[in-house]
Every structure is written in structure tokens, then in C-alpha cells.
Amino acid sequence: MDAPIRTYKHMIPLEEQAPERLVRRSKLISLDEAGSIIASKTSVSLAGSHSADAAMALIRAAIRAGAKNMTMIPPVTTSIAADLPIAAGMLKKLYLSYVGFEYLGLAPAFRKAAAEGTLDIVEADEPFIILGTQAAAGGRPFAPVQYLYEGLSIPELNPELKKVVDPFSGREVYAIPPLKSEVFIMHAQVADEYGNAQSWGGTGQERDKAKAADLVIIQADEIVGPEVITKDPTKTTIPGLWVDHVVHVPYGAHPTFSSNNYAVDEAHLKLYLQMMRDGAGDEYIATYVKEPEDHMDYLDRVGGLRQMSKLRRMLTNT
């Protein structure tokens, strides 16, 4: 056979193609690398639920890396995972469903930015975010809904919500636009270095958000070997082939819950709220986001191993 033909791989026996060592590529990168990648994007989506399972380490890394003027597609309910980025000037635009601290109070940075008009708020809600994400996950043009927005204020306040005529009934219904993001970041309890991840809590928002994103970065409390993952494939909530990068950050969801791993640090959330309300937001960001040399330094600043062990105990104890 002559040379050009050899360029057809099916003509080359496997043993001739076989590499010296057959090595599966690891997707592990450093927290700082992840932060720079996120900061280089214009839109980010998040998972988690309220003050649980937020990708806080990645968010702090992105702020440290100088993330600015980004659009955020948050989980349908969230607290510090949206409020801190707003305080740090990371966000220009937010799809709003719920941002608040519930029994601890309202979200200070969010309310300040809203009052000062420094944040572009898209008046959204649970179905807008979930169905919009679902449409983007499948590259579908929009998500039609009926008997939902009729009579509500959102159609007047949210210009991204349009109308379309249902070709089957002839009735006018509403159309939610696809919500894609350039990067999706999430917290998982365990992941392997190939991207297979187990999120033990949450509400499954992460699956469609991963499919709706150009790039997926996972932070995991623990990196485990393949034998842990293959023990039960149904436990893998995010298949590795959906994932670009994995970052190892023990207690990376702090100060929020990591489902079945450690509890929310309520005292730290109260400290955050107090400092934000007292106009000491920059000091908080300096102390807990910008100055820490690395994630372990951050953990030391919030109480170190003693505090982390207490948070683990709080969860497993009930």
C-alpha cells in the first residue's frame, strides 16, 4: 500500500497505533486555574439549593481571578452564592428566581445593587429557569407554556418572555427562551478524575445545567478512585463525559451545606450579613476571598479543622 492510504486509520493495525502506555486523561486542575477559566467567560450557571451545595470555592476563585460583568443563571433558590458575587462586582446581570437568606434575612448586596440600579435583574422564577435550561440543554428554540404567566406581572417586567401561537390549539401561549451558559460550575460530594461525579443532595438542576453549558467545572469534597464510582453507576449524577474540569476542594461548599457531608456554617453566614449591612463588605471580601493564599488558608480563616469537624458532626449527628 502507498503512503497516503496509510493516513486512513482503519488501515493501520491496532498494535501499530497503540501508545507506549495507555493512559486515560485526568481532568483535575487547580482551583486557581479554574478561577481564571471562569473569569474569562461572560456567563455562568450554578446548581445547589438555597444555602446547600453551592460551588463556593469556585466562586471565590473566580472573584480572585478578577471575574467581572458576568451574567448569572442561579439555582432557583440561592443565598450567598449570588449575593457574594454581586458584592464583589462579578455580576452585571442576574436571572432572578429567589435570592435571600430566609430566616436569617434578605440578601444585602442584592438589595443594595437593586436599589442603586447597578445590577440588571431579569424577573424570572422556577419554571423560567428550569424550562429555559431544559430547552438550552437540548439546543431547542424555546419552551412553550400555558396557564402559567397569564395574569401575572412577569410578562410585563421580563422582555425575554415572548408569545407564540400553539399550532395545535391555535391559542396564544408563552415562550420561555433557552438559557445557555458559557460555563456551569457545581459542587459535588465525590468525583473521580475523569469527571464522573456524585451530588448527594440538591434537586437535579445540575444535570440540565451541565448539558446547557459550553464548559463544565466540578468542585468535589473528595476525589475517589474508579472502584467507588463503578460500585453503583446510578449514583453518578453527572457523567464524566459532560465534564471538562475537576477541582479538589475539601469543604469547598463552605459556608453552605454539603449534603450528607457537613452542615451550613450559620455563624459565618451571620458574620457575612453583619459585615455587608455595616458597609464592611470590602473587608469581608478582602479577608475571606482575596487575601487567602489558597483554599486551605481560607479554611483556616473560617475556623480550620476544628470548625470543619464541628460542621461534619452537626450534620451526621441529626
Binding site: S49, H50, S51, A52, V76, T77, L96, S97, Y98, V99, G100, E102, Y103, L106, A107, F110, R111, A114, A115, G117, I121, E123, A124, D125, E126, P127, I130, L131, Q134, V145, Q146, Y147, L148, Y149, E150, G151, L152, S153, I154, L157, W200, G201, G202, T203, G204, Q205, R207, D208, F257, S259, N260, V264, L315, T318
Partner: protein, 279 residues
């Protein structure tokens, strides 16, 4: 605005009382969908209490964790608290909840609705709810709300409203913005707009219980809690409530009810600490 302090409150908190009222409401053999929303601790406690006493077929949902029929005896700090998942029977996706909501039926109407409660910045006489904000013109709001989340599911069918603060700022003639459809503009406006889906049934507040009139669907006083009066309710409501001739006192919590609530549902006493106000 005053912390509620009334006769009986050495014996129970208003939050405990409302949880017991909602639990009573859930009584019966029918399959019910209980609780739901993320921060509805009172409703969550009520559903668990009902399940343990009078509603064996109630499905207790912890929305934030996405699980059904948790077996907790210590109330979690939110339905998103992973501890809300203790002993659960199944876990669903948020998209399942969205499917229920857009379908306007909970599991194809197999299931009635029990202790699901919605609150808001404002609620008007037709039970419409506002979580967006107060004042305007939008986006220049006097008070910026936290967002609508799932309050629009009020439009999906017959739910209930729940208020932690009973005052004229919250109970208004007309909401500034509408995040959730109550009976809309009254009469048959809701039925015409939302494919005949039923509207809100009851309103639980720190000082009274209301429902809605049959035709106009205007909010109507049903009973006033012990230690409170019709006059107090009227004085703290920003619109004209329908007041029947006979307004009884809400049956107070019994020792049995408080005992089960405190020993099998809320061992941590979260509801004791819950802050509710009038005025």
C-alpha cells in the same frame, strides 16, 4: 409591629398553633400532597404532624431537598436542609415539580393538597401574592423582594396561603405586582384565564383564619385566634374583609396536639422560636 404576646402564649407559640391548624385541615383518608416550598417550616411541621395523627396517606414533600416522606422528628432548618431527607422514600427532580406545576395537577389529580402554603410581601383581597417588590415604577422599587420562585404555582390549583405577619402593609387592597394568581380579579376571572383551575382555599395568619366567598372569591374571616378580636383583625387588614355574623374563636391547641408536635415533629423547638407579628 408587635411580637405577638397574648393569653395562652405561655403555653404555645403562634407558629406551633398555625402548624396544628394546618395539620387539622389535612385530616382524612385521601392522598394529599403536603408542604413543598423551601422555607415553609410551619407547613412542613404541619404535614408531618398530620401524617402522624390524622392523614396516613399524606405525601410529605421537602422541596429544597426534593424528597418525599422523610421520617424526621427534629424539624430541619429548611426543606433544603439535607437533614430533611432522613428516612425518605424517594427523591425527585425539580423538573418533576415544574411538570406538576405547568400541568396544573399534582400527580394527575390523584392527590389533593394539604399543608402547602404560600406567603409574600403583599397579599390582596382575592389572594393574589406579590414577591417582586413594593413601589415603582419598576425597576425603581421602594422594597425589592427576593424573587418569585414558585409562588406562581398558586395558579396550578387549589392551594392555601400562609402569613407570618398580619398587618396593613402585607394585606393590601391590590398587590403592586402579581407573582402568584389567587382568585385574580374575583368572580370567574380565574376560571376563565386558568382553564378552570381552582384558587386558594384558606389563609392562615398569626391572628385568624380566612377563606374566600363562593361567588366573588373575596377573602372572608372564618375564625379568630384565642386572645384576638374581630376588631383587631379588621384594624390590621388593608382591605375590607368579609365578616360573617358568627365568627368563632379558633379552637386552641390541645395538650395532645402540642405533645405530639414537640416530641415527634419539632424536638428542637424551632417553631417555639419562630417570630410572628401583628400590626
Amino acid at each position: 409591629m408587635a411580637e405577638i404576646a397574648t393569653p395562652g402564649h405561655d403555653r404555645y407559640s403562634t407558629a406551633e398553633f398555625i402548624a396544628i391548624l394546618i395539620a387539622r385541615y389535612c385530616g382524612g383518608d385521601r392522598e394529599l400532597w403536603g408542604s413543598g416550598g423551601a422555607n415553609q417550616l410551619v407547613s412542613l411541621a404541619a404535614s408531618r404532624l398530620a401524617q402522624l395523627t390524622v392523614a396516613p396517606n399524606l405525601w410529605l414533600f421537602s422541596g429544597g431537598a426534593g424528597v418525599y416522606n422523610s421520617k424526621f422528628d427534629t424539624l430541619p432548618i429548611g426543606t433544603w436542609d439535607p437533614r430533611a431527607g432522613h428516612g425518605a422514600e424517594c427523591k425527585i427532580l425539580l423538573s418533576d415539580i415544574v411538570d406538576n406545576g405547568t400541568k396544573g395537577r399534582y400527580e394527575g389529580d390523584r392527590i389533593g393538597r394539604g399543608g402547602s402554603g404560600y406567603g409574600g410581601l403583599q397579599i390582596d383581597k382575592y389572594g393574589n401574592v406579590n414577591m417582586i417588590g413594593i413601589g415603582g415604577p419598576y425597576p425603581k422599587l421602594k422594597v425589592r423582594g427576593p424573587g418569585t420562585v414558585g409562588v406562581l404555582w398558586l395558579g396550578s390549583g387549589p392551594n392555601n396561603l400562609y402569613l407570618e405577619h398580619h398587618n396593613k402593609r402585607t394585606l393590601v387592597e391590590k398587590v403592586d405586582y402579581r407573582s402568584g394568581n389567587g382568585w385574580m380579579d374575583g368572580g370567574d376571572s380565574r376560571a376563565r384565564t386558568l382553564d378552570g383551575r381552582d384558587g386558594p382555599q384558606f389563609v392562615w395568619t398569626p391572628i385568624c383564619v380566612c377563606d374566600f366567598t363562593e361567588d366573588q372569591h373575596r377573602m372572608r374571616l372564618v375564625s379568630v385566634h384565642p386572645g384576638h378580636t374581630v376588631e383587631e383583625v379588621v384594624a390590621n387588614t388593608g382591605f375590607e374583609l368579609v365578616i360573617p355574623d358568627n365568627v368563632p374563636t379558633t379552637t386552641p391547641p390541645t395538650e395532645f396536639e402540642l405533645h405530639v408536635l414537640r416530641t415527634q415533629v419539632d424536638r428542637g423547638g424551632l417553631l417555639k422560636k419562630r417570630r410572628m407579628t401583628v400590626g
